[in-house]
């Protein structure tokens, strides 16, 4: 385990920085706000009791408005046998500048009434394409995935959401929009594609919440060769 000053372009800093990205999305993400790591400037790691503590200076970018901000973050990866989530603290300057209120409110009002439940599949599709009206649901899927990616992260993982396999809107409850999401996560260090089913809620006031999450088993029997003639 690397200890001391970290090389910003080496993997320990990058993996820890991606955990900070997931954390920021759980706190601030929405259908119109999705944050990504832009650059690691500096970092350090040390052993503290049984745990691993990272300190990082980062640039994060909000990907819809392209607004960037500088962030300072501290992470604690728990040691020992337990599978508990890393703890993150981060403060950012300038990152949340973009005014998403109008768009979020319009989106919320549009989908709040129960007369037209929306759903979608394969976002993005194989060509990286999605319909414009699916984009906010893609962002929402990414933000919801961040809860799982944050929880599942350790120093030997690097998670991204690969695709929203499908989502279905459910009845609005307690003023929260509700959705079932099936997301595919890509874990870089194992290269695995991991399927999760999520029950997601959102409102402009409450932000994104994941009420339930269920890991889908890997389907080895799905691998038999189909009739591929192409």
């Amino acid at each position: 385990m690397t200890t001391g000053v970290l090389n910003p372009s080496h993997y320990p800093a990058r993996r820890a920085a991606t955990v900070v990205q997931h954390y920021l999305n759980t706190r601030y993400g929405s259908p119109y706000r999705w944050i990504f790591l832009s650059k690691v400037h500096s970092g350090s790691a040390e052993d503290v009791a049984e745990m691993r503590k990272y300190q990082l200076e980062l640039t994060m970018q909000e990907t819809i408005s392209n607004v960037s901000g500088q962030c300072s973050a501290e992470l604690l990866f728990p040691g020992g046998e337990g599978q508990s989530a890393p703890q993150v603290q981060a403060s950012c300057e300038g990152l949340l500048q973009s005014n998403t209120t109008a768009q979020e409110e319009a989106f919320y009002q549009q989908h709040r009434a129960s007369n037209n439940m929306v759903s979608g599949t394969d976002i993005p599709d194989s060509y990286g394409h999605m319909e414009p009206n699916m984009k906010p649901f893609w962002h929402l899927g990414g933000v919801a995935s961040s809860f799982i990616m944050l929880r599942e992260s350790n120093e030997s993982t690097l998670y991204n959401m690969a695709q929203v396999a499908n989502f279905t809107q459910l009845e609005t409850e307690k003023d929260q929009l509700r959705f079932n999401y099936h997301v595919l996560l890509h874990e870089m260090i194992s290269q695995e594609i991991i399927h999760w089913k999520l029950l997601v809620t959102w409102s402009p006031e409450q932000g994104v919440k994941v009420l339930q999450s269920e890991l889908q088993p890997k389907c080895h029997d799905c691998e038999a060769p189909p009739n591929t003639t192409n």
Binding site: D125, Y127, H186, S190, Q191, K218, H220, P226, N230
Partner: protein, 371 residues
């Protein structure tokens, strides 16, 4: 007899040939394919890429030929394009392969773009022309043909990575990670012996016919290859050998310097950052890669390109990013290839010049002594 026709006759003749050509092609190409600008901004399935290779040969018969140099597990051809101005002597070579991992669709798209670009510019760009004279480019647009075809089957197969050979010994999953199957510290690190694993390295080194095909070709050409480029996605990185954490390439400093130069050239195009380093440093350790094999048999400049993006789209990079990704990757590849070329062809000239001066000096000194 042709001289008697005159220039008008030649124009008419070429028009007739063209329209006949077009009519024949309309059976192969859809209406959209005929606009070259649109073609290289879309992903293409294996039969389209195969037809495209034929088209490249047909349109550039004096510089493009193809070679089938192996078979996949499912008995499909593994084909490369050999591109260069013909010469009488043996030429130095550049190797590029794309699509070892099936789901990394931007990689074959880049191989196609690279071919298109050198063919477009070799007559007018003096540097590309010079390199086409002195080098042959060996470009494999899709190495893992079975896997690539499988990834086009439907949405549920899109994210396939490995080959399509079946598991053995009671293990029922499919596929070996071709980039763990090469005879380069095979099986040592970053691999799995579980055939269901994404890093399954195979029953033994070169158990996969695809890896064997590359090994066989490289073995025949090893003295001539100046640079080995293998194209992947995603992550925006340039990896240098070796994947094993305890082994350094003898020219590590040179590899880093050239890699950083390539990253700088990439950034100048669309401001994208590509990180440069060994895999154990910037990604994860692994052995049995094609890149490591290239370096081990003596190819001095061996690089893995991990193209866009950094995770927002991942493997499903939108088609509107194909062009800018290819433009920046081309700049990076061009930097490496130019360095490799100039190191041999200009240092040869420098050596000749140095030898000449040394000879003259020795002659002057000895004649001075005689006097």
């Amino acid at each position: 007899m042709m001289l008697g026709l005159g220039s008008v006759g030649l124009v008419l003749l070429s028009l007739a040939v063209q329209s006949g050509h077009g009519a024949q092609d309309s059976a192969v190409w859809s209406r959209e394919e005929t606009t070259e600008r649109n073609y290289y901004t879309r992903y293409h399935n294996m039969s389209e890429i195969t037809a495209w290779m034929e088209q490249m040969k047909r349109e550039n018969p004096d510089v493009v030929s193809s070679m089938v140099y192996g078979q996949t597990y499912e008995r499909r051809n593994i084909t490369l394009l050999k591109i260069g101005l013909s010469s009488t002597g043996r030429k130095k070579a550049i190797w590029m392969d794309c699509g070892i991992h099936a789901r990394e669709w931007i990689a074959p798209a880049f191989c196609q773009y690279f071919v298109k670009e050198i063919l477009r510019t070799y007559k007018t760009d003096t540097k590309v022309n010079e390199m086409m004279k002195n080098l042959d480019f060996y470009i494999t647009p899709v190495l893992n043909v079975d896997g690539y075809i499988y990834s086009w089957h439907n949405e549920s197969t899109r994210l396939w990575r490995k080959s399509r050979s079946p598991g053995t010994g009671g293990c029922t999953c499919y596929g070996t990670d071709l980039n763990r199957n090469f005879y380069a510290n095979w099986g040592m690190v970053g691999v799995s012996t579980d055939c269901c694993n994404l890093f399954y390295c195979g029953t033994k080194a070169l158990s996969e016919s695809e890896a064997w095909a590359v090994t066989d070709m490289l073995g025949k050409m090893r003295e001539d290859i100046l640079a080995f480029l293998t194209i992947h996605s995603y992550g925006q990185q340039l990896l240098v050998p070796y994947g094993h954490p305890n082994i350094s390439a003898p020219n590590h400093d040179e590899l880093m310097e050239v890699g950083l130069g390539a990253a700088k050239a990439i950034k100048a195009v669309h401001r994208m950052d590509y990180t440069v380093g060994t895999s154990p440093d910037i990604l994860y350790p692994f052995s049995g890669s094609s890149q490591d094999f290239g370096r081990l048999i003596g190819i001095p400049l061996s690089f893995t390109f991990e193209l866009r993006d950094k995770g927002k789209h991942g493997f499903e990079l939108p088609e509107d990013q194909i062009q800018p990704t290819c433009e920046e990757a081309y700049a990076g590849a061009h930097h490496i290839i130019t360095y490799a070329h100039d190191k041999v062809f200009y240092s040869y000239a420098a050596t000749v010049t140095a030898t000449l001066w040394t000879t003259l000096l020795a002659a002057w000194v000895s004649s001075a002594i005689l006097l």
